[in-house]
Each structure stands twice: as C-alpha cells, then as structure tokens.
C-alpha cells in the first residue's frame, strides 16, 4: 500500500519534469533558430550586395558623372555631393550637440530642465527621418523657393544632433567627479575644467558618438528627397540642388534600365561598406564600460 502511494506521485512528478524539459527544449531550439535566421539575413543581404556591387564596381565610377542610361556614366557627382552634404551636416551638429550634451551633465545635472531636454532628445533620436525632411522643406526650401545642398546638409545635421547629444552626455557622465574636483581645487574656472578635464577624459567616447552620427546620416535617403533633391550633373555649389549617393541609388534602382540598376548596386555597396566600417571603427574607440 505504502509502496504504491509512494510510486504514483513519483511517476506524476517525473512526467511533469519531462514536460518542463520538453517545453524548455522547444523554446531554446526556437531561440537558437531565431538567432540563426537573423545572422543568415545579415549574410544574405551583405552577400547579395557584394555579389551585385562588385560586378559593376570599377575606377570609372569615381571618374565619370551620372549620365543617361547606356552612356557609361559613373557616380562621381553623387559621391562628392554625399561627402559635402554629410560634411555640412556633421559640422553643424557636432559643436551644437557637444555643447548641449555638456549642458545636460556639467550644468543642468539633476535639474528639471535637463531632464526634459534629455527626454525630448531621446524622442528625437528615434524620430522618423522623413519628418525631419518635411521640417527642413518648410523651414529652408519653401521660403527659398528651391531645393539646395544646404537644405540637405541642415536636414542631416538635425538627424545627427540628438545622436551626438546622447553620446556626449553618456560619456561625460562616466567622467569621475574626483577629476573635476581636483581641477577646481587648483583654482581652474568651470569652463576650463570642462574643456581640459571632462572633454579630455571623455574624448574617445565623444569621438565614437560623432563617427556613429556620420555613419547614420551618410546612408539617409528620405530627408534628402525633399531638401537636396538630386542633380544629374556635377556641382559644388551648395545653393543648387545636389546629387547624393542614396538619392541616386533610389532613382536608379527603381528605373527600368539595367546599367542604372547595376550602378545603384555599386553605389549601395560603396555606401553600406563605408557605413559598416565607420561603425566598427567607432565602436573600437568606445570605452569598454559602455554596453
């Protein structure tokens, strides 16, 4: 009697254990499968890009400007346009972003105002870039009555700004207060403490932020459609419509001409690998303590 009673619950609990282990096996298998699928997707996209892009990539792309289909055009004007527009964007956003981030940590730490700014900035980080394009259209393009490279640069600058604010703030927060206090004790005024001590201590991290912002904006397409538009010939005049790699890729990929589509793949290869390399380089500067 005793034996049967003891054996029955044991059997039931064994069943429960088996069931639990089975569920666990299913979930962990699914989770490994999900990871494999994600990695496979990355390999597929990059592999296809390499395969299609390398077929067309040639020195001629950097020498010739875009031209009509079938006439052997390149991407020179788009590459230079992209560099200029991205350059303007980052030159605008870097000082503003670093100073705004400085305000959040060195001046406003713990204040209500800084908290609100931080929250708004976090919202701007994840704002859709097309909204920024519309904003700059209303702010710059509509009053000036024409699309321009400047407008494109401003749009990219507005996208880069919150990223730089965010990383500057995170990096300054990592600077130990003891360093600042030591500088104060030597009689340094606050601005010198910030520039000579805080900035120097946080330099690598801040550089990471700027590089990540460059990586982010150099692939942006949507905001340029309403601001820099595009241009089929070479121009270095920022006040006229300007070609950029992403916009040319967009126009060419959607076109019915095979040689334009091939050029789009070559451009896509250029831009993706510049962005990915920038990302890897930027992360190598980042301090380890950051996730």
């Amino acid at each position: 009697m005793m034996e049967i009673q003891a054996a029955a619950p044991l059997f039931a609990s064994q069943q429960i254990v088996r069931k639990r282990l089975r569920i666990n096996k299913i979930v962990t298998t699914l989770s490994v499968f999900a990871t494999a699928a994600g990695l496979f997707l990355l390999a597929w996209i990059l592999g296809y890009l390499l395969f299609k892009g390398f077929a067309t990539l040639s020195p001629g792309i950097f020498v010739h400007d875009t031209s009509s289909p079938g006439s052997g055009g390149g991407l020179r004007n788009a590459i230079i346009g992209s560099l200029m527009i991205t350059g303007i964007g980052i030159v605008l956003a870097t000082p503003i972003g670093i100073l705004a981030g400085t305000f959040l940590i060195e001046y406003g730490r713990g204040s209500k105002l800084a908290e609100v700014i931080r929250f708004v900035n976090d919202m701007l980080v994840s704002a859709p870039s097309i909204i920024v394009g519309l904003f700059v259209y209303e702010l710059v393009v509509a009053p000036m009555h024409h699309f321009s490279g400047w407008a494109g640069g401003i749009a990219l600058g507005i996208i880069a700004l919150p990223i730089i604010v965010r990383t500057t703030q995170d990096m300054l927060l990592l600077v130990p207060d003891a360093l600042r206090e030591a500088a104060y004790a030597l009689g340094a005024p606050k601005w010198r403490v910030i520039v000579v001590v805080s900035y120097r201590a946080a330099f690598q991290g801040m550089l990471t932020g700027v590089l990540l912002a460059v990586a982010r904006i150099s692939g942006e397409t949507a905001p340029l459609l309403f601001t820099a538009l595009s241009n089929s010939s070479f121009t270095a005049d920022m006040s006229s419509p300007m070609a950029s790699l992403p916009v040319i890729i967009y126009n060419y990929a959607a076109s019915p001409y095979a040689d334009w589509q091939n050029l789009a793949w070559a451009g896509a290869l250029l831009i993706t690998f510049s962005v990915l390399i920038l990302n890897v380089v930027a992360r190598s500067f980042a301090p380890r303590s950051r996730n």
Partner: protein, 322 residues
C-alpha cells in the same frame, strides 16, 4: 597664511575672476544649445501644423477618414496611406517580436561567452545597414521570392479559409503590404534585440541564479523571473520599434506598390504615409502638396506619441532600477 586668505577675498569681491568671461560665454552657449533641442521639437511640430492647415481647411477633419487620392480632380484623403502605415507596422511587429525575443533570450541566457560579442556586433551591423539597402534587397530578392513561392503558398493554404480568407486572397503581386511588413520586421528586429538585451541584463544575477538553483529551466527563468522583472523595458523596446516601423520610408517605398485603394487582402498593393511622401512630394504643388504635408503631420502625431510612450516606459525602468 593670512596673505592667501586676503587675496582670495579680494578676488571674489573685486569680481575680476580670471575665468568669469569664459564661464559666461561657455555656460551661456551650452545652455542655449540645450534649449535649442527643446525648440527643435516645438519647431518641427509648428512647421508641420502650418503645412497641414491648407488641406484640413479644404477637406475638414474628415480628411483623415476619406479614402480618395485623386490628383486629377484635386481631392485627397488620408485613409489609404494611414491604413497602409498601420497594417505594415502591425505585420512587422507580429513577425519581429517573436524573433527578437528569441535572439535576446539566446544572447542573455544561452549564448556561450565567446560568441556573445560577435553575435551582438552582427546584430548592431544589421541595425546600421541603411534602410535603402533593405529596400533594394526587398525589391530585387524578396519580391520575386514572394511572387513565385511564398504568396502562392499562402493563397493556397489560407485563401479559402473562413473569416480570414479575404485577408490572403487575390493574385500574388509580389509587391504589397505583406512584403513591406516583412522587410520592416527585418529592419526593426535589431533595435528590439539590442534594447531587450540591455533590459534583460538589468535583472540582478542573484534573482536569476536563485531560480536556476531551485531547478528552474532556462525558459522558466525567462518567463517567471526575467520577463516580469523587465516587463516595462520590454514594452518600451516594442513601442520604440513600432515607432520606427510606422515612420520607416525607403525600405517600404520600393515594395509597397503605391496604390491608394484599400483592399481587404494584405497581399494586395497599398501605400504608407512615408512611401506616398517619398514618391510624390518632390513633384507635388498646390493642394496635393498640402495633402501630403497633412499626411506628414498625421505621421508625426502617430510616431511621436508611440515614441513618447516608449521613452516613458524605458525611463520608468531606469528610475526603478538605476
């Protein structure tokens, strides 16, 4: 000793502190640029409201639920792009959420240490790939696949099912809302994974280890310890990804089909607010431009409320657990 004290007081009284001008200039510009971030959001809002006014004045508030987009007759309504925006984002979340949960669980609970860094890096690279690349990949790789294999299979399996059949009916176009949703899910996946991984790592190791010590399986630890503890952050991650899916442009524009008719089937072509902006804005003028700007305003309201909610959730998590 006394002389030091005297110079110190004379300095503070005299006001000729050597750093004062620098302090005012530097602190002043830092403050100004800090405020500029606030002004930026306000300015975006104001600019979009002003841009949206002509369309709302012409069509009234019913602009939002009118399903017409006729540049020939100059009559516009936002319903079709609004519908497409919501449906594609919804599809993206349905596919993206389980995958991202799976990857985040793998990274925090199952992954051997030597694989953690490479896989995290791969996920971050996936996030860094520009959205136009996803769009091209979608157009040249995914669309033919969908048209030849996936959509015919879906139509054959679900096309005649009761209730949901209409959702999966019609010819396999290749382009359409479902394809756009799938591309979007791939785009938002890395964002969800990287936030969720960070959020899962806020769970104190003692809690996790005590559960394992009691004999819990990996899944039980995740379900009963990790997820309840990080609930707020996980919801925040989902909402942030939703905000991105709603506003994503280039990945969608290539594959959504640009049709302003609302069809029952998710396999049919449609459009989203951002796709309609990308394909029509540069050539539009007059009332069409106004209608597009009004669409942009609706997108702004939609995305910023979702993002705002997400950030509040993440902020709450941060305050709770530092």
């Amino acid at each position: 000793m006394t002389s030091v004290a005297v110079t110190a007081t004379s300095q503070s009284k005299g006001g000729a502190h050597p750093g004062r001008l620098g302090n005012t200039l530097f602190g002043g510009s830092a403050w100004t640029f800090g405020i500029l971030v606030l002004i930026l959001l306000a300015a975006v809002m104001i600019a979009l409201v002003i841009g949206a006014l002509p369309a709302f004045r012409e069509f009234g508030i019913s602009f939002i639920w009118t399903e017409v987009w006729n540049p020939g007759k100059d009559i516009y309504g936002a319903l079709a792009p609004l519908y497409g925006t919501l449906v594609t984002a919804f599809i993206a979340m349905i596919i993206g959420v389980p995958f991202s949960l799976g990857i985040a669980i793998f990274l925090t609970e199952l992954c051997p240490n030597y694989l953690k860094r490479p896989i995290s890096t791969a996920v971050e690279l996936l996030a860094a790939v520009p959205s136009i690349i996803y769009g091209m990949w979608g157009l040249f790789v995914l669309v033919p696949l969908m048209q030849k294999y996936i959509e015919p299979a879906i139509i054959a399996t679900f096309g005649n099912a009761p209730l949901i059949g209409a959702l999966f009916a019609g010819p396999p176009y290749g382009i359409g809302l479902l394809t756009a949703g799938i591309i979007l899910s791939a785009m938002v996946l890395p964002y969800m994974v990287s936030i969720m991984r960070d959020v899962f790592e806020t769970v104190p190791p003692q809690l996790r280890e005590s559960a394992y010590g009691l004999g819990a399986t990996t899944w039980e630890v995740v379900r009963s310890v990790v997820l309840p503890y990080s609930r707020v952050g996980v919801v925040g991650a989902f909402m942030l990804a939703l905000g991105r899916a709603l506003g994503e442009t280039m990945a969608v524009t290539f594959v959504v089909g640009n049709s302003y008719h609302i069809m029952k089937s998710i396999l049919a072509p449609g459009t989203t607010i951002s796709a309609s902006l990308a394909s029509e804005f540069a050539e539009a003028d007059g009332l069409q431009l106004g209608a597009l700007l009004a669409n942009g305003f609706l997108l702004f309201v939609l995305t910023f409320s979702v993002i705002g909610f997400a950030r509040l959730m993440l902020l709450r998590l941060q305050k709770q657990y530092g």
